[in-house]
C-alpha cells in the first residue's frame, strides 16, 4: 500500500481542517500576545554612532577598498569598546553618578554593535530594562570611547618602530663581529630613525588637531518606547508557526491513519469501482419516526 501525496490531497486536508487550524491559531496567538504584553519584561534601547577617522591613509573615501579597510578597523574598535577597560570605566561612572553597581559582564551583555557596510561608521546600541539606564550607559560609552580607542590602538604603531629599532640594534651587534653587516645595519637604523620621526610628526599633528580614531556622529537619546518585546511581531511569528504545526498535525494524522476515510483511500487499496458514496445520515435532520412505515407490517406474503 504505497502512499502518495498530491497537491489536491494537501488542499483537501486544508479545506477540511482550516477552521480548526484557525481556532487553534487564534487561541494560541491571543495567549502569546497576552503573555508577551504582560509577563515578558520590557526592554529599552539607546544608540550611538561613531565615524572612523583613518589617520594612516591618504584618504580617498570613494573607493570600496577604503571602506572595506574601515570595516576591519570598525571591528577592532568595537572590540575595544566591549573590552574590560571600557566596561570598568562605564561601571565606575554608573556607581559614581547613579549608585548602580554592575559587573563588566552585565554591562557587556547589554551592548550590541553593527557596522555600516556602505560607510566608515559603526553603531553601538545599549539595551536595558530601563530607558534611563540604557541612555546613561550609551552616553558614557559615547564620552569615553574615542579617547580609549585612540589610546589603545596607538601602541601598535610604536611597536613597529621598536621592532625596526630592535632589528637595527641586532644588525649593529653583528656588524661589530663581521664588518660586511655594517652597511645593512646602517641602512636599517636610518629607516628606523625615519619611522620614528614620522611617528612623532603624526602624533604631534594628531595632538594638535585633537584628532581621534573615532568621532561621534550620533549622540544617544533617551527613548521612552520599549523595543522589546514587540507584541505584533511575536503574534505574527506565533500565528505562522502554530498554523504550520497545526496543519502538519492534521496532515500526519490523515497520512498515517489506518482507517479508510475517503474515496481516495479506497482507490489506493483497490482498482475495484466505487459503486456509491453514502453520506453520514444525520438523524437530527431526519425525523425518522417512519421506520415502521417501511418496516414489517406483519402477516405473510400475498
Amino acid at each position: 500500500m504505497e502512499k502518495t501525496v498530491s497537491l489536491e490531497h494537501l488542499w483537501q486536508i486544508f479545506k477540511n481542517t482550516w477552521w480548526k487550524i484557525l481556532i487553534v491559531v487564534l487561541i494560541v496567538t491571543i495567549a502569546a500576545g497576552v503573555v508577551t504584553e504582560f509577563c515578558v519584561p520590557r526592554k529599552y534601547s539607546s544608540t550611538t554612532e561613531f565615524y572612523i577617522v583613518n589617520v594612516n591613509q591618504t584618504i580617498d573615501y570613494t573607493t570600496s577598498t577604503t571602506v572595506a579597510a574601515d570595516q576591519m578597523l570598525a571591528k577592532n574598535y568595537i572590540e575595544v569598546i566591549k573590552s574590560d577597560a571600557m566596561m570598568s570605566m562605564v561601571g565606575e561612572k554608573l556607581k559614581e553618578n547613579h549608585e548602580i553597581e554592575m559587573t563588566n559582564k552585565q554591562i557587556r551583555a547589554m551592548i550590541s554593535s553593527a557596522t555600516n557596510s556602505n560607510a566608515s561608521s559603526f553603531s553601538i546600541t545599549v539595551t536595558a530594562p530601563h530607558a534611563t539606564l540604557a541612555y546613561k550607559i550609551a552616553s558614557y560609552i559615547t564620552e569615553l570611547a574615542p579617547d580609549l580607542v585612540t589610546e589603545i590602538t596607538k601602541p601598535s604603531e610604536i611597536s613597529a618602530t621598536v621592532k625596526w629599532e630592535t632589528i637595527a640594534s641586532n644588525l649593529a651587534d653583528k656588524a661589530e663581529e663581521d664588518p660586511k653587516y655594517a652597511e645593512v645595519a646602517l641602512a636599517v637604523q636610518t629607516a628606523a630613525n625615519k619611522l620614528a620621526e614620522n611617528e612623532d610628526t603624526l602624533t604631534v599633528k594628531g595632538l594638535q588637531n585633537r584628532l581621534q580614531c573615532i568621532q561621534v556622529i550620533r549622540e544617544p537619546v533617551e527613548n521612552p518606547n520599549h523595543v522589546s518585546p514587540n507584541v505584533i511581531k511575536v503574534c505574527i511569528l506565533v500565528a505562522l508557526a502554530v498554523a504550520i504545526l497545526t496543519y502538519a498535525f492534521f496532515f500526519l494524522r490523515e497520512f498515517l491513519s489506518s482507517e479508510i476515510r475517503t474515496e481516495n483511500d479506497v482507490k489506493s487499496l483497490t482498482d475495484l469501482p466505487i459503486l456509491g458514496v453514502i453520506p453520514r445520515w444525520d438523524l437530527s435532520s431526519h425525523k425518522a419516526s417512519n421506520a415502521y412505515e417501511y418496516g414489517y407490517k406483519g402477516g405473510n406474503k400475498q
Binding site: 475517503t262 487499496l269 458514496v277 453514502i278 453520506p279 453520514r280 425518522a288 418496516g295 406474503k301
Partner: protein, 278 residues
C-alpha cells in the same frame, strides 16, 4: 461488541429510506442503484446481489435494506434475505422479533413452505426473509443444496434478490456460495474500516474468484465528502444544497424528476400570478 458498535446498531434502526430521508441520502442510493444496474452488463434474469464487509459495524445490513427499498421503489419485485444467521440485523432494522421463523428454519427443514417465512413490507414490491433463530450450523445451512434450490426458485419470482451476508473477514459463509450470486457489494465504513482488514478481505475474495461488483463507501462525513471532487465540503450535503428546496417532493424514488417538475410548475404559476397582477 464494543459500546461504540452498540450505539451504532441502535442508531441504524431508524435509518431506512423514506420520504423524510435527507435528499442527499436518497440521491446517493439512487446513484448506487443505477451503478448496480450497470454492473449487470445486460445480463438477463434476476440478479442476486450479496453484501459483505471486512468487519462488524460497517453498516452493510442497513445499506442492503436501503438498496432493496430503493430497488423496490423503482417498481421492482425485490427479495431481501438476511443470511447473517449468527448476528441477524434485518429483524432489528424492520422491527421484527428475532424469534420469527426465517432462513434458518427454512433451510433446516423446520419450515418447508417459503411463502410462510417470506414477509411483505409496507414498501411495495419489497419482501423480506429474516434470518430466523441462530442455528448451531449456519455455515452448513448456507452451503446446503436447499439454499441453492430456493435461490433458483426465487430468481424466477423476483426481479432482484439481495442477500445480507456476514462479514467476510470474520466468517466464511459468505464466500462459500460465491458461485450462486451475481456479485458482491463490499461495504467500507468511513472512519471505521481498517485499511489492512479491507485489503486482506478483498484479497481473500479475489483468491476465491468471488466476483466483487464494487465498493460502497458508507457513512461518510459530509465534511470530507470533498475528496475526489464529487462533493464539496462545508455545509451538510452541500452538493445537494441547491436542490434541498425540492425535498418536499413526495416520492423519493423519482425525487429529482418530480422535484424539477414541481419547481417548474410552481415557477409557471408564479409567473402567471405576476402577469395577472400586472
Amino acid at each position: 461488541m464494543s459500546k461504540k458498535n452498540k450505539n451504532f446498531h441502535r442508531e441504524i434502526e431508524t435509518r431506512l429510506l423514506d420520504t423524510t430521508s435527507p435528499f442527499a441520502i436518497r440521491e446517493a442510493f439512487n446513484h448506487l442503484r443505477t451503478n448496480l444496474l450497470y454492473t449487470l452488463n445486460n445480463d438477463k434474469g434476476c440478479p442476486i446481489f450479496a453484501v459483505t464487509s471486512a468487519g462488524e459495524a460497517s453498516g452493510k445490513s442497513t445499506l442492503m435494506a436501503n438498496i432493496a427499498i430503493s430497488y423496490a421503489a423503482a417498481s421492482k419485485k425485490v427479495l431481501l434475505i438476511d443470511a447473517d444467521m449468527r448476528a441477524p440485523m434485518q429483524c432489528n432494522i424492520f422491527h421484527e422479533d428475532k424469534s420469527t421463523y426465517g432462513l434458518s428454519e427454512l433451510l433446516s427443514g423446520i419450515e418447508r413452505d417459503d411463502r410462510t417465512v417470506i414477509r411483505s413490507t409496507e414498501t411495495e414490491g419489497l419482501s423480506i426473509l429474516f434470518a430466523g433463530q441462530t442455528p448451531p450450523n449456519p455455515s452448513e445451512l448456507i452451503m446446503s443444496h436447499a439454499f441453492e434450490l430456493y435461490l433458483k426458485k426465487w430468481r424466477l419470482e423476483y426481479d432482484a434478490i439481495f442477500i445480507d451476508f456476514p462479514p467476510v473477514g470474520i466468517v466464511t459463509d459468505t464466500l462459500a456460495v460465491h458461485k450462486l450470486v451475481t456479485g458482491y457489494i463490499f461495504v467500507v465504513r468511513s472512519e471505521r474500516s481498517e485499511k489492512r482488514s479491507v485489503a486482506a478481505s478483498l484479497d481473500t475474495m479475489k483468491k476465491l474468484d468471488a466476483k466483487i461488483l464494487g465498493i460502497v463507501l458508507n457513512d461518510v462525513d459530509s465534511k470530507i465528502l470533498g475528496y475526489g471532487g464529487r462533493y464539496s465540503s462545508g455545509k451538510r450535503y452541500s452538493k445537494y444544497s441547491r436542490y434541498s428546496k425540492y425535498e418536499s417532493a413526495n416520492k423519493y424514488e423519482s425525487s429529482y424528476a418530480n422535484a424539477y417538475e414541481h419547481a417548474y410548475a410552481k415557477k409557471q404559476k408564479e409567473e402567471k400570478e405576476e402577469k395577472h397582477d400586472a
